[in-house]
């Protein structure tokens, strides 16, 4: 039976009352057919390589010669590696500063757009655009040009008599410039916020207004609680995404993580160790450390969500 026919009979069955064992089996088969491409992909492209990289993290694999088992050497070396700690610090700064700023802006813009603006689809697209482009190489290159010593930003500043620094070439401002790029790509959380805001029934606000609640109260007592699952969702995804970000720093710093390692993201350092220094064992170990860190952050997030996320069920 073809998958399509399965799907057709599924629809009939769901109306047809009591399921029996045979039908359950058939249901599963249809599901498996549809899931197969994803499962094959998951095993072959994600789980397989992950397990291999777990093995490699305990070896001295250098891309060219066969790996030798060296136990936990890579992990002990990591503990003594200043650049590892630096890359962790840079990435944490990026996550802890960049994500809240980005989500805050996304929410603010979403709320502004939710006011029933004329031409909303247009504005929505305009604000979403950076998200589509933001992680692309082209925009990172544009950023590099704009924030160069004699780039657009400094030319504008020069008009008002300010001599701007070399934004991306000065260690004290380089990371900030990349965080700004991240914040600017607030489009996708904004779209999700917007959808969430649309779900909040207008009558709540009307009732609250009748009871004399001001704007701030309405925001704090109605919008935030009802939007909290969406905020949580965006928070988790953006934190995971931010930990993994690579392209911006790679392009803006020309692959070096410079100046002075100030934009040396964890992933960038991992990449340099693996493909630059032929230290794939160490890079694999770093990848697993990152997985654990992201896992811990996500677990904390989920745990903490019990105390502030409000589900309407």
């Amino acid at each position: 039976m073809s998958a399509l026919a399965e799907l057709g009979s599924l629809g009939k069955k769901s109306r047809g009352g009591r399921p029996n064992v045979k039908r359950t089996y058939k249901d599963n088969r249809a599901a498996m057919v549809f899931l197969a491409p994803w499962i094959v992909g998951l095993v072959a492209i994600t789980v397989g390589p992950m397990l291999i990289s777990l093995y490699l993290s305990f070896t001295d694999y250098n891309l060219i010669q066969d790996p030798n088992w060296i136990g936990t050497d890579n992990f002990t070396r990591m503990m003594q590696d200043d650049r590892f700690w630096n890359s962790l610090r840079v990435t944490l700064t990026y996550v802890i500063v960049g994500v809240p700023l980005q989500l805050g802006l996304a929410l603010a813009v979403a709320m502004a757009l939710d006011k029933g603006l004329k031409g909303l689809p247009f504005y929505r697209s305009v604000f979403y655009l950076p998200s589509l482009l933001g992680s692309s190489v082209a925009v990172a290159i544009l950023w590099k040009q704009m924030f160069g010593t004699s780039g657009l930003v400094n030319q504008l500043l020069a008009m008002v008599g300010i001599t701007g620094p070399g934004w991306i070439s000065d260690p004290s401002t380089a990371l900030g410039s990349i965080i700004l790029l991240h914040v600017w790509t607030f489009g996708s959380p904004m779209i999700i916020f917007l959808a969430g805001l649309r779900q909040i029934p207008g009558m709540y606000y009307e009732a609250a207004a009748v009871d004399g609640a001001g704007r701030a109260t309405r925001f704090l007592k109605i919008t935030l609680p009802l939007l909290s699952p969406i905020i949580f969702f965006n928070l988790v995804l953006q934190i995971i995404g931010a930990f993994q970000s690579f392209t911006q720093a790679f392009i803006v710093s020309g692959g070096t993580g410079g100046p002075s390692d100030s934009t040396m993201f964890f992933t960038l350092y991992l990449y340099q160790r693996g493909f630059g220094q032929f230290d794939m064992g160490y890079a694999s170990a770093m990848a697993w450390v990152l997985l654990v860190i992201v896992g811990v952050f996500t677990a904390i997030n989920f745990y903490a969500s019990k105390f502030w996320v409000f589900y309407d069920d």
Binding site: P165, S260, F278
Partner: protein, 433 residues
């Protein structure tokens, strides 16, 4: 009127679990094609000029050897090494590989390159001992040099004229002279004076002037912390004396494409380049460029530490299924005079007398001035430096990073130099099996 249930919130997460992109798989060239010919994959980094020339050479080779097909894989320097590392890891390295001094031990020392001295198809008789030695590591010939060049100070004649500064006499100039000249240029022409030469090779020359070396013949670092600290301190001194640009401008200059560097855009009058970069720099700056010796500590050019560097090599993968054909192609590249007439000096000046004679009538004025410079310094050259050991290919990045730390005032020259030495030592150590 529900907003969002726990179940649907979780579904959101599940829906977002994206499936990774399919990785492109190598095509794994079979041993022979259907018609009995073999296909060689050849990779190099370069530019449009080099790509066109190399394609012409490939076409000519295929006509002469109908049983060998060449599949060209041109690239650019910035992505070349990442790609090669990945291909090598996937056991999918090209058969013939354009190689660089910084990487030859990285690959050769790990057994990824073919020992060319064992390939009868490759005739090495035209090359002198130094050329052969430049491709040897661990007793194997990992690559054959395509030609040589030397590090020089490029003096931009227009900038000197504009500043009203005379081009210094490089047969006796010292680093102090260099600093004063750059200062005068900056003041006179209203630009930055001098570019920095923050590469491992310029450090190598600095160290040689002090009787030290970057790496020893037995594959260790061969310098003292003081040696590197003095180098870094001098760069800082240039900056503080307004003889070179501020740190963040220098930072941008490091990553810039040749045509956009301070030197190529006439924002500095003095800069460090390899002699084979004379043509692109002359073109980009629109100015005549005079090649000067690198200054020395004592003003004696015999002590200026210069050396001939192999511009690049031709190597073959040790896992190539067509070692004999690869050697045939490399032989064609380095020994055939028709090839030399197409390439002339684009890959450096060949050390083969036969090739030198063949291209003599074809040399352009910039070729000639580079060649004059090379022959002028020849009597002053010392022993060529050791091939950088396995593991050291990223030491240059570390040097750049620590030197810019000094320029930004984030580290003292002494601390930065110590950090660089420990970086380099660790890189070499961790590459040992």
């Amino acid at each position: 009127m529900t907003t969002l249930t726990r179940r649907s919130a979780l579904a959101l997460f599940a829906g977002t679990a994206a499936v990774g992109a399919l990785s492109a798989c190598g095509t794994g060239a079979g041993s022979k094609n259907a018609d009995g010919s073999v296909t060689l994959r050849v990779s190099w980094w370069g530019n449009d000029v080099r790509n066109n020339q190399t394609q012409q050479v490939i076409d000519a080779f295929q006509q002469a050897h109908p049983n060998i097909k060449i599949q060209a894989e041109p690239g650019v320097w910035s992505g070349y090494w990442d790609k090669l590392a990945t291909q090598t890891a996937a056991n999918d390295a090209p058969d013939v590989i354009q190689m660089d001094l910084a990487y030859i031990a990285e690959y050769g020392g790990r057994g990824a390159l073919l020992d060319l001295s064992k390939q009868s198809q490759l005739d090495l008789s035209a090359f002198d001992q130094n050329t052969i030695k430049a491709g040897q590591y661990n007793g194997k010939l990992n690559g054959i040099s395509t030609g040589q060049n030397a590090l020089a100070v490029f003096a931009n004649v227009n900038v000197f004229k504009k500043a009203g500064v005379a081009i210094p006499d490089d047969s006796k100039w010292t680093w102090d002279d260099y600093l004063r000249t750059a200062q005068a240029l900056a003041a006179g022409a209203g630009n930055y004076g001098s570019s920095y030469g923050l590469t491992d090779q310029s450090l190598s020359i600095w160290l040689r002037q002090r009787g030290e070396q970057l790496y020893t013949q037995d594959g260790q670092t061969g310098f003292t912390v003081d040696g590197v600290a003095s180098y870094m301190a001098f760069q800082k001194k240039l900056m503080d004396a307004n003889a070179a640009p501020p740190a963040s401008v220098a930072q941008e200059d490091i990553g810039a494409p040749v045509e956009q560097t301070l030197a190529a855009t006439n924002k500095t009058g003095l800069s460090f380049w390899w002699t084979n970069q004379l043509a692109p720099l002359t073109k980009a700056s629109g100015s005549d460029i005079k090649l000067l010796r690198v200054p020395s500590q004592d003003g004696n050019p015999k002590d200026d530490g210069l050396f001939y560097k192999p511009s690049m090599y031709w190597s073959a993968s040790s896992r190539s299924k067509h070692a004999a054909e690869a050697a045939t192609f490399i032989d064609y590249l380095v020994n055939n005079t028709d090839v030399a007439k197409i390439i002339t000096t684009e890959r450096g000046f060949s050390t083969s007398q036969k090739i030198q004679d063949a291209i003599k009538p074809l040399l352009t004025p910039t070729d000639k001035s580079a060649l004059d410079f090379l022959s002028e310094i020849k009597p002053e050259l010392g022993e060529p430096p050791a091939v950088p050991p396995t593991g050291s290919s990223k030491a240059a990045d570390s040097l750049g990073r620590h030197t810019t730390d000094v320029l930004f005032g984030r580290a003292s020259a002494q601390d930065a130099a110590a950090a660089f030495k420990s970086d380099a030592d660790n890189m070499i150590k961790s590459a040992k099996k």
